[in-house]
Symmetry: C2
């Protein structure tokens, strides 16, 4: 299968497939006589799985880590497992956050009762402080040091 066909079947673009190969998410493809990528259908399974991880909000660097472990063979299974378990927690947290937000939205929408009437000030529904969870935590972990910082609330932000 050539790259165009794989693109069609996987739902990625050829550009993206090459990009994924470049960064190591996909294995270096075999080439045909004319040095064009020639894929085995089995790659679809892997792409499918990557799609799942992506849909689950896993950052590419983690998928990369998984891909590397996978390439290193069966000995890495416990670690792969831990990786997935860790991400499962992230997803659970995210689901919880979103459900929380759904409640807020519901409340807010209910505030805009019938379709008009009432003035502008139902702009204050917040069951509990938000304090920007998870992706914050993820992102920040990568970033530069906390400039020792201005006190209170902020340090909590993982920055």
């Amino acid at each position: 299968m050539k790259i165009g066909e794989l693109a069609r079947q996987s739902g990625l673009t050829a550009h993206t497939i090459r990009y994924y190969e470049r960064i190591g998410l996909l294995p270096r493809a075999d080439r045909d006589h004319a040095c064009q990528r020639d894929y085995d259908a089995s790659i679809l399974t892997w792409i499918e799985f990557l799609g799942r991880l992506k849909a689950a909000g896993m950052p590419i660097r983690d998928m990369l880590r998984y891909a590397e472990l996978r390439a290193r063979g069966a000995a890495t299974e416990p670690e792969r497992r831990r990786l997935l378990e860790r991400h499962r927690e992230v997803v659970r947290t995210r689901v919880a956050t979103l459900q929380d937000c759904l409640l807020v939205l519901d409340g807010k929408i209910a505030g805009y009762a019938g379709s008009s009437e009432r003035t502008d000030d139902h702009d204050a529904i917040h069951p509990e402080p938000i304090r920007d969870n998870e992706h914050g935590a993820n992102r920040r972990a990568i970033r530069r040091q906390p400039r020792s910082g201005p006190v209170g609330a902020r340090p909590a932000r993982a920055r």
Copy 2:
């Protein structure tokens, strides 16, 4: 309240607060005698709500739309309501997707049974095709034309 204090109380950085003002998410702040921003505590309520929308994954341009409507007064309530309702659907979809992914992760993790044994090939669990929903749909809607382009499949890309 000056910007530093607001930063502390809101959990945003002063940089971010200015940025939000610049793009219109926050109203232009009043200034004190020295032209420094001087906030009323009530702004916290709005920031809190923005935080909610953000946690709900609403893109800034939609928050912006909401902010603009809000600034235009009570007459825009029905539209604000619709905006929130629309986003509520997005969030619901997202929750469903994530829950789906949780199942996949569970299955996958279960596949890495005890902690070792078994070879490398439980890399194929996918209840149903993914076909990259929602954010895809969102993003793409914004982008350039299909450039009439190189044929077939690509234009069709709901992607």
